[in-house]
Each structure stands twice: as C-alpha cells, then as structure tokens.
C-alpha cells in the first residue's frame, strides 16, 4: 500500500470512528452506552501498551501500574479539588513522572526484555500491596481516604472544564471518552510518522544498529515508555470517571493479563487492531459473566494460548497480510505474473 493511499484509508477510518462516536448515543440505551464507555476507556490503556510493545519493543507486564496510578491520582485530586479539570491533568502528569523514574532506572541500567517484564510486574505488585494495606483513618491524602482494600467510593466524575457544578451526562461522558480514544490514536499515528517515531521503530528492529547509527537508544526507549505511561494514566482517569470508584484490584495481575490478550488478539505492531481486540474481548467477558457454563479465565486462557500457537501475528496484521496477498495474486494474474518478478512489487503492496 502506498503511503498516500494508507493515509487516505487512515483518515476515512478516523472519520468513520468520529461519526460513530457522535451518533452512538442515539442508537444505544443507557446500559449499552455505559458498557461502550468502559470499553473505550480500556482501549486507551490498550493503545498505550500497543504503542510501547508494538512500536517500542518494550514488553511491560505492569502497564496497570500507570493505569492504576492515574486512576488513584484522579480520584484523590478530584475529591480534594472538587473540580475534575486539573485532576485529569495530574492523572496524566504524575504517572508520566513515575514512568520517567522507573524507565530511567531500567533503560539506563541496560536491563534486557525479560527482566523488564519482571520488574514492571513486580512494581505493580508492590503498588497493589501498598494500596491494599492503606485501610483506616491514618491513610488519607488531603480529605481523600485511601480506603485500603475497599478503595475510594463515590469519586466525583468529570465536569465541564472549571465548572464543578455542571457534571457531565452519560452521553457527554461517552463523547469525551470516545473522543479521547480517537485523539490518542491520532496523536500516536502522528508520532509514528515523526522523526522520533521512526527512530523508535528502528530501535525496536535492532537496538545495536540504531545505537551504531548514533542514536541514544536509552533515551528513545525512555521517551516511548513515558508516553505510554502518560496515556495509561489518562486511561485510568477515564476508567474512574466511568465507575466513580477506584480500588486496588486496578493493579491486579488479571487486568495485566487481559491487556496482553487484547494486543495478542488484535495484533502486535498495529494500533487499530488492539482497540478491536479490547472491545471484542471485553464484550466476550461481559457475555461470559451473564451465564454459568464457562468460566471467563478458561475462555481467556484458551484464546491466548490459541492465538500464540496458531495466529501469533493477531487478527489485524493477518487480515492485512491476506489482503496484500490477494491483491498481489489479482495483479499477477492480470499482468501475467510480471508484478511478482519485479523487486518493487513487494514493497508497494
């Protein structure tokens, strides 16, 4: 696919998504709309992992650390300020700062892939343990009680910027969440075509080669990681806005596993695929929750094992690959095979 055509397809996709977000409240009842809002908030988290793993080559098993931190920061700040505007900002900035500290520690220590997975997982567990044990009066930040295992209930949801007396309706909340998802997608697309994005992909492809070409690969990876942390924090704020509640299970291992499943199903190295994966898997989990025969862990586990063994590239890249093959076959039959023999053809399709 040529770049121009790719860009054309992208803009059509984004326009269609934006129209969908705008019109959806007309077609869904309140329950379904809330469901979709949750899926969209989680998709922001999916995008953050899709970006750092698929384009930065950083496999973080603990992206929920930033997601949960964003959620908690939003909850505490919103309770204290009484206004969500600055709380959302803090929910992006603080996880990003935390990601900077952790990323500096990890990438400047030249810690390799697997160990990175171990460390991020461990950090998430530390946060879970610490937050879990903050029950009681002693643990409060400002007027917000941390609540330990019970979490923080009745967190103020989003309001009109700087107007705490006007909370958002479920419809507006959906527009904000869906709109944020599209905005984050566009931002990541723009970053990927920028110089920084291209260097990040080069580092993923071959770190030594990128370093030999004069790029500071540690800094590039740190940048990717911090961006991922900020996006995950934003996702956390959106998630808390959806449920008006945040508890320590936000740091749980099962959520970390679920993110990995969204991406594996949707396709690593794609941004659109993981969003689809996130929506489909969450819809599936909600469906499983409404019946008794199958356990959701059983189904999710089977899906993950099945995809790793049979379809390791995930749905979106496999679909694109099939499309490219079909087009190639079509072209080679019309041009009597000449397209296949030219070295160009592979790059263009």
């Amino acid at each position: 696919m040529t770049d121009a055509r790719h860009a054309g397809l992208q803009s059509i996709l984004v326009l269609a998504a934006a129209t969908g977000v705008a019109l959806l409240p007309l077609h869904l009842d309140l329950f379904a709309l809330m469901q979709v809002t949750l899926f969209a908030a989680m998709s922001v988290l999916a995008l953050s992992v899709a970006f750092i793993w698929g384009f930065g080559g950083i496999l973080s098993f603990g992206q929920t650390a930033f997601f949960g931190l964003g959620g908690y920061v939003y909850a505490i700040a919103a309770i204290n300020f009484g206004d969500s505007t600055n709380a959302i900002l803090l929910a992006v900035v603080l996880p990003a700062l935390f990601a900077t500290a952790l990323g500096y520690f990890v990438f400047y220590g030249k810690i390799s892939d697997v160990y990175l997975g171990v460390i991020t997982l461990t950090v998430t567990l530390i946060l879970f343990n610490v937050v879990n044990s903050t029950a009681g009066e002693a643990y409060r930040i400002g007027i917000a009680r941390l609540g330990g295992f019970n979490g923080i209930p009745s967190v103020p949801t989003f309001n009109m910027p700087f107007h705490p007396e006007i909370p958002l309706s479920p419809e507006t909340s959906w527009w904000v969440t869906g709109g944020t998802l599209i905005a984050v997608y566009l931002l990541l697309r723009l970053i990927l075509v920028s110089r920084f994005g291209r260097v990040a992909v080069a580092v993923r492809e071959n770190e030594t080669r990128a370093a030999l070409l004069g790029y500071d690969t540690r800094l590039v990876k740190l940048g990717v990681f911090v961006l991922g942390g900020a996006i995950a924090g934003l996702g956390g704020a959106l998630y808390v806005n959806w449920g008006a509640f945040v508890g320590p299970t936000i740091f749980s291992l099962s959520l970390s596993a679920e993110i990995i499943i969204w991406i594996t199903v949707g396709g690593l190295g794609s941004l659109f695929g993981p969003i689809v994966g996130c929506f489909v898997i969450q819809w599936l989990v909600a469906l499983i929750g409404s019946q008794q025969t199958f356990n959701s862990n059983l189904v999710l586990g089977a899906i993950l094992v099945g995809f790793v063994l049979l379809l390791p590239k995930g749905v979106a890249p496999t679909f694109l690959l099939c499309l490219a093959r079909l087009r190639k076959r079509y072209r080679s039959t019309t041009e009597h095979g000449s397209a296949q023999s030219t070295p160009h053809a592979g790059q263009l399709t």
């Binding site: 030249k110 356990n295 959701s296």
Partner: protein, 288 residues
Amino acid sequence: MDLAIILALDVLNGAASLFLLCVGLAIIFGMMKIINLAHGEFVMLGAYATVIATNAGMNIWVSMIIVAPLFVGLVGLLIERCLIRFLYGRLVDSMLATWGLSLLLIGLVTTIYGNTMNGVPTPLGGFQVGEYRSSWYTLFLAGMAVSVMALVYALLRFTRFGLIARAVMQNPNMAATLGVNPSRVYMITFGIGAGLTGLAGGLLAPLSGITPVMGAAFIAKCFITVVGGGATIISGTLTASGLFGLVNQLGAYFTTPVYGEVILFLSAILLIRILPQGISGRFFKGMS
C-alpha cells in the same frame, strides 16, 4: 534469646519454602530458557492433588510427597508435548502462552471444584521455645528443601541423564550431533521441573488457603528469585532464596507482613538492576 531463635526459625522457614517453590522454575528456566508463567498454577495443582488425595482417605505424607509431584509431573509432560515444545527459542511467545495456560488452569479448576476448598490440617505438632511456640513442620520443610537440593545436585552431577541434560543446556546442537535427542531431554526436564513444583505445592498445602488463584501469590516471588539467582540452578536458587527469605522475614518482623513483601520486591528490583546476570552470574560462574 528465645526471640532470636524464633526469628531464625522464621527466616529458615521463609528461605526453605522459597527454595522449594523456586527450584522447579529454576530448572525449567535454566535448562530451556522458557519462562513458565503457569508456575504458580503448577503449585496450585500440587496443593489440590494433595488435598483431594488426603480427603479421599490417603495418608497425608503419601499424598504430599508422592501423589502431588507425580500428578503435576505428568501434567507437565502433557503440557510440554502439547504446548511448550512449539515455543523453544521464542522467549516472549513462551511467556504469553504460559500466561494463557495459567488462566486456563485457573478456569478449569474453578469450573470443577469451585472457588474454595477445605484445606488439610498441618501435621506434626508444635514445640515451645521459652514463651514462644513454633511448629515441627517448619523444620520438616527445611529438611525437605535440603533433600530436594541434594537430589537435584546428585541427579545433575552424578547420573548419565544429568550429564546429558547439562550438555544439552550448554549446546543443544552439539549434543544432537553426538546422538542425543534434545527434544526428549527437554520433555523429561520439564516434567521433572513440574514435578518438583507439584511437590512444593503439596508441602505448602497445609499452610495455605486452597483456592484456584493461590498460585498468583507465589509467581512473582518465584520469578524474581530465579531471575535474581541467575542461570545456574542450585547455587543461584539457593543464594537468592536464602537472601530473599531473610529480607522478607526480617522486613515482616520489623514492619508488617505486607511491607515485608514490599521490601522483598524492592530489594529484588535493586538486585536485578545491580547484577543483571543474577547472583550466580556474578559469583559462581560455570558451576551447575
């Protein structure tokens, strides 16, 4: 003085159970470079096997020391044949697939046995140290840890299978040209690793709450101990579990059990940062 004895027993207990829990993972990671994220679920299966066998009227010692490792070992062999053997050399894929496997096993056990299960009582009584009490079972665990260590060492060092396994670990292609079938060695090694993990699950069954998700409590600890220990199986796991057991128990004593774990995790992160090759990669190069 009495307090010091009790504290020492606690540390011994922490280190011994950590060693028992980790040795199976260390064998699988050290030999095959497969990170088995379903390790915690192997522990869970061992505990379930023990509890079910004991409740069915079997002697508790038999069900802990024979039934649990045998059952989990067989499950391990099955899993190796159906799943793991396609993933050698694909480190990340193997992590993802075994993570899926862990969810699958949790789901399966939940579907069959529900969310909780009655445990088994801790055998052997307690004894008095001054004004404190401790349990004989702690000492038994330490004894089992020492026996498992001796057994694994002897197996790797003095048997023909151990020789072949170490050769395959060093260079599978060279071993294959000399007539060894690496695939078969991997299969057996994975089975042994799974069996030892099942044994740990069986031995810890009287001390833990038996639920399908109990493995999650162990996986991170085992993971960091093995990674912190480095590539050599016995010396690495032994030093790492000794160190982390000490840190964990002392941290728990001076603060709370929760912060004991937090301190353990923090020290593990620091250790990995300072010694990326693990303890054994730094201090015990070239030993098994």
